[in-house]
Amino acid sequence: MKKFSHKNISKIGKYKIKIPKRFDKKLANRLFRFMLRLRICELYLEKEYHPADQMKCPVHFCVGEEAIPAVLNELLIEEDFLFSHHRSHGYYLAKNAPMKKLFAELYGKSSGANSGIAGSMDLSYTKKNFFAGAILSGAASIAIGAALSLSLKPKSKAIAVTGFGDGATEEGLFWETINYAGLKKLPILFICENNNYSTYAPQSKRQAGMSIAERVRSFGVDSKQVFGNDVFIVYQELKKAITKARKSRTPFLLEAFTYRQSSHVGPPNDEKVKYKSKKEIKFWKKNCPVALSERVLLMKNFLKKTDINVIKSEIKKEIKSCFDYAKNSEYPSLNSWDDLNLSHNSPLADKLLLDLDKTDFDIEQQTEVSKGF
């Protein structure tokens, strides 16, 4: 199959996953572990989220979309910038930001990643160059700037990476971004997680013509489509793209076909809107990234059932401790709204600039009216 679409993918039935030849066993297991951790993290968060309603924060969960973050976690370096859309948890963890600070953030606690000020949609972790935000295509476009800056640093191998959905590509800003990336050949990696939906609306109701990957190519940005739930294929493609971007500083877009098992945003559960077919839900559950890789890892004997159980209980322990951390933390207090919004420190200006002032001004001058433009 060359050209993917959500229509033709659901015809696959059962996806035949393979571990590529000479694929490192430890790496494969790490990818699986990351996905499992993210999966369990999200499921537990979902469970605690509602009806307890103690995390008073709109959350876009990412159950079913674990492969991309797992691969990024392997391939990104500290100095890389990662910009995420609203569905941010996987990306946050991909950058090795601490899980407990994610939980605390959702609870609105001062120990949260952003002291409870940002929440799930606007999550960031500055120390690891991770930033998210909810306005569609915003994250992708900001990544351009980081890539631009990195391209000015001849010694840097760092790149800018951005993850977003199929819906984000409808915003005009996205195409300004792609045009610029293609024009300037920036070290930037675009990852479009095409889960077919923008909230409830399927792609076919919002976009016509060629695929996102093909559109992007017409702007001079190389691209590829993959079955995004096959973590090994995703790994291989991103490995290639990232290696190339680090070396020859070129942009690339990966369109990864995947599926969100969660509601668009929780709560409420959005099943009652009936925008997904039972058939597609079934297909995607069966072929989710965790199930697919678990199956093949067991088959290949990379892992045993018991190993998986050990991993699971480790993860659950971690998650419990994250909940404890979050719940036991304080709510933020407030020193100053002003300071929160505006920086009044200017150490560099203090160092470089003279303090001068002057009242007088020569008023015997005519203000100019410029001709034409």
Partner: protein, 328 residues
Amino acid sequence: MEKSKRISYSQAINDATSQAMKMSKDVIIMGQLIDYSSGVFGTTSGLINKFGEKRVKDFPAAESLMTQAGVGAALAGQRVLLVHIRIDFMIYSLDSIVNWLSMWRFKSNRESNVPVVIRAIVGRGWGQGPQHSKSLHAWFAHLPGIKVAIPATAFDAKGLLLESIFSEGPSIIIEHRSLFNLKDIVPNRPYRVRYGKAIVRRKGNDVTLVAIGCNVIDALKAAKILKKDGIDIEVVDPRTLTPLDRETINKSVKKTKRLVVVDPGWESFGAASEIITSVTTRQNLHLISNPLRITLPDSHTPMSLALEEKYYINAQKIVNKIKKLLKK
């Protein structure tokens, strides 16, 4: 004594930019057509020769992306100067300014700061018409998280631009095109004019006249004319709207007991009402006449010269309104 020279407002901007780029390699500038000899009314001419295209970046007609690129570049270590030859074109980038730039520090709980400076030029006259002449300073001043400067003199233009570039947060500098040829004595060395510090451009006892941006010179001219009639005007130029120096304004009004604001923006829900309110909520009972605002009408800008004359404020209009106020 500082060495200085008499240069125009646009030269002062060019001077400040060039100096900033020399002082720090991190400074980059982006904008449409900044690398041509015309150089955005001379404010960027020559930079491309001095600093090359890596740091002087002509940009496609994609204003929205340009601001976002500014944010991203700042995150990765640049100090970014963005130039919009018209504020009207910059409106395409309001999402970037409102939803990203202005709240970046806030969202990160102060951990991440983005030194992005936006120069936004306001056209005026010669039939610019409604898509080339809006002065949206009140909008930006209403928005949290971003500083707003509106310099009236070449001295302030240089000092505020340097201050903005080397500060840690985002700022917007509103530049009225009609000021670009006005000359002023400007020090050679790099200096700063601080945000939140208004300046009393003329001392007087009868009326406090707060004037903004391009209307500062009109206000000073009006004050000179009124002096002949024995009316003694104190002219205050706030220079920055965020932060706004409410103290200096209030101090002046405490003395004069009268407040007039002249503002090159639309009347309703504009900057003039903020300045008036910032006085009346503090010392209303102290005033001896109603505060007065002299602004543009609540109207888009007409093209025809005949209507432009009715639309815009000038010194004589200020004189007439103040005389009328004092007669009451």
